[in-house]
């Protein structure tokens, strides 16, 4: 017991350290916060990847062994007591029993009725002999005492599953470009690549945002699994809904923009002539406006437009905070209008107001990639079993109550006395009621089913 508590304490202390010192982070992060010497100490002590260090795993192993040994030591005698509860109470224990009763009967032997009463209330009976005094014990809820052992066993099963996963499983990730195919992924350490064993193609990726913000509302990928040239599976992958194929789990984890905006949709309005239409063009490629002499070219796209000290345009970041395109329109081959068009500032129509034309930035397409987590957990079945057993074990330990009532019957024909001692391991208030109800029924008040 003391060993277990000590191991708990060690586990707690190490875990605290493991949260205060960032685990498995980039070396630069450590250099920012700690000195060279401190970092060396941490490395030596294994504090930088504490939860996988040999000594942490040893603590867990010792705890597991401790659990096993303690259970083996206690279980046999517990089994004995649970299956064959002692019929007699020794005098020391008798003093501690909280509920007592003394019932007197004239007339016939109350024992047969007693048997029915106890059976009615769900008790098992075990008695010693036919002699007088007759000693017996009524008991129920014995199995609740097994509860803690089930919980311990469940912990061992979970640890077993986790060990299997640590040894034979993997965690990794891969960024899959929209319309692209991958057949391998990167392990969590960021260094090694591994084969999937099949190919994964992203047919479409879609992200939706909450109104007027950059907060993602939902994002999903249409994935196809290809094996040996055959398309074997199609799935819409979303967060919280993984794809599982051949024991490999794939999760929608993130997404991002790849490369630069390629295609832009503009609206053009010519107020005097009341014409308006939309035009989609690729950045850098001139497009002739149909039936006219005008040629339009999108010179550049900036996701986060800003002006520097020399009033030259640049992009402050990669985020789409202030999307803008620089548009040039030529008439008859000669420059006619050059302006910036902003998604967020629809009223801005260029400094040199050629008011015949109004431009608007409607839409831009940036190729995206979908960020996937790739994992394999061969021990998962064990872990789930352990969890279920843990819940069951806790329920049995805490919801069932072991109750015992010792009975001693003395006396002779016409003049019987039954003494009762009752105790309950849990829920004493409810038991108090049950005890007095039993006493009433034994004395003939209250009904019992025949």
């Amino acid at each position: 017991m003391k060993l277990a508590l000590t191991l708990f304490l060690l586990l707690v202390l190490s875990s605290v350290i493991g949260t205060l010192i960032p685990q498995g982070a980039d070396p630069t992060l450590y250099q920012q916060h700690f000195g060279e010497v401190t970092i060396r100490c941490f490395e030596f002590l294994g504090f930088l990847d504490l939860f996988h260090s040999w000594w942490f795993i040893s603590i867990l192993s010792f705890l597991s062994i401790n659990l096993l040994i303690c259970s083996f030591q206690r279980l046999p005698s517990l089994w004995q007591v649970v299956s064959f509860p002692p019929v007699r109470l020794d005098t020391d224990r008798e003093k501690a029993i909280p509920f007592r009763g003394s019932l007197f009967f004239s007339g016939e032997d109350p024992w047969p009725r007693a048997e029915r009463v106890f059976r009615d209330e769900g008790y098992h009976l075990r008695r010693e002999g036919e002699a007088i005094p007759l000693c017996a014990v009524a008991y129920k809820g014995q199995w609740s005492r097994i509860g803690p052992y089930l919980v311990h066993l469940s912990i061992l099963i979970v640890l077993l599953g986790a060990t299997i996963d640590a040894l034979f499983g993997f965690r990794g990730y891969v960024n899959l470009p929209e319309k692209g195919v991958v057949d391998s992924f990167r392990l969590q350490n960021g260094k090694d690549w591994r084969e999937l064993g099949f190919s994964l193609r992203c047919d479409d990726f879609e992200a939706s945002y909450y109104e007027g913000s950059h907060r993602p509302k939902n994002y999903k990928s249409q994935l196809t699994v290809i094996e040996n040239g055959q398309e074997v599976m199609r799935k819409t992958l979303m967060v919280n809904r993984p794809l599982v194929y051949k024991g490999i789990h794939i999760y929608q984890s993130s997404f991002g923009n790849m490369g630069e905006v390629k295609s832009v949709t503009l609206s053009l309005e010519n107020p005097p002539r009341k014409e308006s239409f939309q035009l989609t063009a690729l950045v850098g490629e001139p497009t002739r406006l149909e039936g006219t002499d005008y040629q339009l070219q999108i010179l550049r796209f900036l996701p986060d437009f800003a002006l520097d000290e020399r009033f030259l345009a640049f992009s402050r970041s990669e985020e789409f905070n202030n999307p803008a395109v620089e548009v040039e329109i030529r008439k008859g081959g000669r420059p006619w209008l050059r302006t910036w068009v902003f998604e967020k500032f629809k009223e801005f129509h260029g400094l040199k107001g050629k008011s015949e034309v109004r431009l608007g930035l409607i839409h831009y397409d940036v190729p995206q990639f979908t960020g996937l987590q790739v994992t394999r957990d061969p021990g998962l079945g064990w872990v789930w079993t352990g969890f279920a057993l843990m819940v069951f074990g806790l329920g049995v330990s805490l919801l069932m109550a072991e109750r015992k009532i010792w009975i001693e019957k003395v006396g002779c024909e016409g003049n019987w006395e039954m003494r009762l001692w009752g105790q309950s391991r849990r829920g004493e208030e409810a038991f108090a009621q049950e005890f007095s109800s039993i006493c009433n029924k034994l004395q003939g008040r209250g009904s019992i089913s025949e």
């Binding site: 508590l5 708990f8 707690v12 875990s15 685990q23 994992t375 819940v391 208030e429």
Partner: protein
């Protein structure tokens, strides 16, 4: 009127409730105690209505979700859980003195919440799961039970000190016997522990479905394990080791400090999947 008015009303009601319970404890006036209980029930009803109203409003705004998604919502839910656990407890043991030590916690948490940004925010995709409801509610009910055990343990230490000083029966008067307090401390932990376990397990299952890893030793998961170990230590020390009284009271208090850190410290100090920053 909107639900934010109801939340404000809740704080005021809990303030008077706490004052009434403390007054009852100091003056031993039964009417004060009865009034305090009534106020507690009233406050609980108002808070429940406010939470439901807020949830319904979120659906009307097109971003419907259970009210657990940010610090404000979880803090108000935490105070709701404390009151729920307390009222059930008071109904069982019929002693109002405990209110003086537990209701102030409910007041503190709901009042602190009022200082926070309370806008209804939409959920990020990772939180859009049925697991959100069960994982968070079970965890906070557990925290509520641990809050109760902490209040009881503080009462125990006060009572044990006065018992030691005068060495006589009935020194505290209105505060129950230290033996009873010790028993209640154990029972509160015995309720909180399986709830916390369920919270951790549902969190692990959800993590598996969301991120492919049922356990990644991130600060939140690790601290929940730490708190779990502290209370597991409590149960073993008491049931197997026969520890009683002062030692177990102190473990309860340390455990609840761990709960506070688990809930707030981790979310505010460390970045990561559970971060509120």
């Amino acid at each position: 009127m909107s639900f934010s008015h109801l939340f404000g009303a809740t704080i005021v009601i809990y303030l008077f409730t706490s004052i009434a319970y403390i007054g009852y404890a100091a003056l031993r006036a039964n009417p004060l105690g009865k009034g305090a209980s009534l106020l507690a029930y009233l406050g609980f009803l108002v808070q429940t209505a406010a939470i439901i109203w807020r949830t319904v409003s979120s659906y009307h705004l097109g971003m419907g979700h259970a009210p657990f998604s940010n610090l404000y919502e979880s803090m108000t839910f935490f105070s709701w859980c404390i009151v729920l656990v307390y009222l059930i407890f008071e109904g069982q043991v019929r002693k109002r003195i405990f209110g003086a030590f537990v209701m102030p916690l409910a007041l503190l948490t709901s009042a602190y919440a009022a200082l926070l940004d309370s806008g209804i925010e939409p959920l990020i995709p990772a939180l859009k799961s049925n697991w959100l409801l069960i994982h968070v509610s079970v965890s906070f009910l557990g925290y509520g039970a641990f809050a109760l055990s902490c209040g009881i343990s503080i009462m125990y230490l006060i009572r044990a000190k006065s018992e030691g000083a005068k060495g006589n029966a009935n020194p505290g008067g209105i505060i129950p016997d230290s033996r009873i307090l010790d028993e209640y401390n154990y029972k509160a932990v015995a309720i909180g522990f399986p709830l916390l376990t369920l919270g951790i397990l549902t969190g692990a299952v959800w993590a598996h479905y969301a991120w492919g890893s049922y356990w990644s030793w991130d600060p939140k998961e690790t601290w929940s394990l730490i708190v779990w170990l502290i209370y597991a230590g409590f149960l073993h020390a008491r049931i197997v080791g026969g520890w009683r009284g002062k030692r177990t009271a102190i473990i309860s208090i340390i455990g609840f400090l761990g709960v506070i850190f688990l809930y707030l410290g981790v979310n505010l100090l460390f970045s990561g999947l559970h971060s509120y920053n």
